[in-house]
């Protein structure tokens, strides 16, 4: 298939960030409202304490922790698209790298924030650094999240430098210009600058992969190092990474569709990108399904007495509708749809992406809550509210606010920075023209 070669001016004109349309304003407004609602709910939580949540003695981790694990999972997409594909010598993913990186940065930012929200005494947050024990997986998580955050920021920023220079050349000298100037006015596009930035990006791509694996493995160990039904598993690290890859790929599919449609990027995010991302999603879905089978089939086969109540609550009990919806709706159905070429078109990809992301969120809920409500020792002489968990409106508002906040970061980034790398697109166009 012959590819269309676009002129530099056309590429720059297409990819340079533009003001919000009316729809963009409405979208941003809705996200801001959700964020403010979350802030108000958190104000209430600070004022009255964690009693405003439905978390009690048994279900002491609720949707805040589910949300945290979800954000950590989504953040893995940065390493998948940018690092893994780049290191594999894959070039078709170039238009998707920045989308993936901003998703990773916003997700890891809100993962850090939501864990502070879960703290009863957030004013003591710095105690983690002052009094933390190196033996604790929580401290490993703190270290690895801050490291991943810095690496993700660098991986977003360094490839952005040439684009900042383009923005400076094409924007009026007012308002945001000063910010662009502060970030990238030193980029002159010299041969040495390109060479050094290429080396830096290669180092980052290599460094981010083990760090990304660490962040998910360590997060899984927060559960697996605890002796509880459903968490006591040696499979957890790999299970979490597989799930994170799938969730991240789903998020990219959704973002690809939305950016393509509303920023009119059909020339840059093509049918071919959807097709290839669809195939990757199927592969990741299969891997995740394989780990799910491992995670649940062997305990179900043995049906150890202390785990019986937990497994039954998932398979046939109170959590069964949600569990099977997640397995089928969030993994199996999208995988089957994406197996077909027609299923890898933009709209089905978008719908499957939504299913995967929503399924991933509820999967984290199913990892956290049923286990806590099925302790090894039976619950005796406890208030009725301790035996169940359904999040309070404050928890929903905060969790929703954090999700809206992550999307708001992505939206605002796309408003001020090119969501598809301009410089790299120009270079690829020049190379294509040269070959033709």
């Amino acid at each position: 298939m012959e590819k269309i070669i676009l002129t530099d001016q056309k590429v720059i004109g297409d990819l340079i960030p533009k003001k919000f349309s009316k729809l963009g304003m409405i979208w941003t407004g809705i996200l801001v409202v959700f964020c403010l609602l979350g802030v108000f709910a958190y104000y209430r939580q600070l004022k009255y304490g964690l009693i405003v949540t439905s978390m009690r003695d048994y279900a002491s981790w609720g949707i805040y922790i589910s949300n945290f694990v979800f954000f950590v999972a989504i953040s893995l997409v940065g390493s998948l698209i940018t690092a893994v594909l780049r290191l594999s010598g894959v070039h078709w993913s170039t238009p998707l790298t920045r989308i993936a990186e901003i998703i990773a940065v916003s997700a890891i930012t809100f993962a850090s924030l939501i864990i502070i929200v879960d703290m009863g005494r957030p004013d003591r947050f710095y105690f983690l650094f002052l009094y933390g024990r190196l033996q604790s997986p929580i401290i490993w998580d703190v270290i690895v999240i801050s490291t991943y955050f810095i690496i993700s920021i660098l991986l977003l920023y360094i490839p952005l430098l040439p684009d900042l220079s383009i923005l400076l050349a094409h924007k009026e000298r007012k308002g945001i210009y000063k910010f662009y100037s502060f970030l990238g006015s030193f980029w002159q596009g010299t041969h040495m600058q390109f060479r050094i930035s290429k080396r830096a990006i290669n180092i980052l791509c290599i460094a981010i992969v083990p760090v990304a694996f660490c962040i998910h493995t360590v997060t899984s160990w927060l559960f697996a190092t605890t002796y509880r039904p459903g968490w006591d598993s040696t499979n957890f690290g790999a299970y979490f990474i597989a799930g994170a890859f799938l969730a991240g790929a789903g998020a990219v599919n959704v973002a690809m569709f939305l950016f393509r449609k509303y920023y009119r990027l059909e020339n840059y995010i093509t049918q071919e990108h959807f097709d290839k991302m669809g195939k990757i999603t199927v592969m990741l879905g299969m891997i995740y399904l394989y780990f799910n089978v491992n995670e649940f089939l062997t305990p179900y086969f043995k049906m150890k007495k202390p785990e019986e109540a937990f497994l039954n609550s998932l398979f046939i009990g109170a959590f069964a509708p949600l569990f099977w919806s997640v397995i089928f709706g969030g993994i199996i159905i999208p995988m089957i749809v994406l197996l077909f070429k027609k299923g890898r078109r933009p709209l089905p990809m978008f719908i499957c992406g939504i299913l995967i992301v929503v399924g991933a969120w509820f999967k984290r809920y199913l990892i956290v809550t049923p286990t806590l409500l099925q302790p090894f020792l039976p619950m005796h002489n406890v208030p009725e509210s301790y035996k169940h968990y359904f999040p309070s409106w404050e928890e929903w508002a905060i969790a929703g606010g954090s999700l809206a906040g992550a999307m708001l970061v992505i939206t605002i980034f796309a408003r001020f920075f090119p969501i598809i790398p301009i410089q790299e697109t120009l270079i690829e166009n020049h190379e294509k023209a040269h070959h033709q």
């Binding site: 430098l161 220079s165 400076l168 040495m192």
Partner: protein, 309 residues
């Protein structure tokens, strides 16, 4: 009829006057109705060296005695012929348990040595809630000693200071015990032992295998509790009759469950190696960024009009 009316009016005025008088008396009586403050004094002598007093203030409220907090009590040693305290010991204030304590100060040593018998006086002033009180406690100076024998027998002797000499006291109950964290544990089967004509009691130490300190020392105690004449006397002696205590110091070894400064070496090495490697890489990347920035500034200075890519 008129006379009858006058009688009725006079009777009414009379009745009202009587009730008015009774009411006035009742109000006046209420004004002077105060709770009774009860102050008790106790004398303690520990190892024949430290003498101190404790004071307990209580008052009856809601049908039972309650401790009284914040009562100011002046304590004196001995009194003059008019009954006023002469040797000022201290002014104490009771706590929320209604208790206060003070040592007998060295400044009263001369008065203390001058006599074999002493009287302690506790005085509280009149307040809005309580009337003034004056409590006395008389004691005779006594000395309690403790000794041990190789066959794990414990001997205690009680002497009273009488006619300028220490004289054995017969017929006083003494307890023998082992000092533990919460209270004293008796050394044998007997709760108390009564002194003979030599002022001596003897008890057998039967608590074999009692945990002691690192050297196996335990503290033996002989004590006279709340005696009308001598107050509270207590004397202690350390003996290596216990089992040596070996502290379980696992908590201080390097382990995954130890404190933050006792992480296992392998964990410290692995964790810090990873942290140093990754953060070293990040620092190197920041250094590369600084180089990019410098190169840009240099290029800008050399070719100010060059168009950026």
């Amino acid at each position: 009829m008129k006379i009858m009316k006058r009688h009725i009016i006079s009777s009414c005025i009379g009745i009202v006057s009587v009730f008015a008088c009774l009411a006035a008396i009742t109000v006046g009586a209420q004004d002077s109705l105060k709770s009774q403050l009860i102050v008790t004094l106790s004398y303690f002598s520990c190892n024949n060296e430290v003498q101190y007093l404790t004071v307990n203030a209580k008052s009856k409220a809601s049908g039972r005695f309650q401790p009284v907090n914040g009562v100011r009590i002046k304590l004196y040693l001995n009194k003059d012929t008019a009954g006023k305290g002469i040797g000022f010991i201290a002014k104490v204030i009771t706590n929320e348990k209604g208790k206060a304590a003070t040592n007998i100060p060295p400044s009263l040593a001369q008065i203390w040595r001058s006599s074999a018998n002493h009287t302690f006086i506790a005085i509280t002033d009149k307040t809005q809630q309580y009337d003034e009180t004056n409590t006395e406690l008389s004691i005779a100076k006594a000395r309690l000693t403790i000794d041990t024998a190789a066959d794990k027998n414990v001997t205690a002797t009680l002497n009273e200071f009488k006619d300028n000499a220490w004289t054995p006291v017969k017929g006083v109950d003494i307890k023998l015990g082992i000092k533990r964290l919460g209270a004293d544990l008796q050394i044998g089967d007997e709760q108390t032992y009564t002194t003979d004509s030599l002022g001596t009691i003897r008890g057998e130490f039967k608590k074999i295998g009692m945990p002691g300190d690192k050297a196996g020392n335990i503290i033996l105690v002989a004590k006279v509790d709340d005696n009308d004449q001598y107050g509270n006397l207590r004397v202690e002696r350390s003996e290596p009759w216990g089992v040596k205590f070996v502290a379980d110091e696992d908590f201080f070894h390097r382990a995954l469950w130890a404190s933050r400064f006792h992480s296992p070496v392998w964990l410290v090495v692995i964790a810090y190696s990873i942290i140093i490697t990754v953060w070293g890489t990040i620092i190197y990347l920041i250094f590369l960024l600084i180089r990019i920035r410098k190169l840009g500034r240099q290029a800008e200075a050399e070719h100010p009009s060059a168009q950026k890519l």
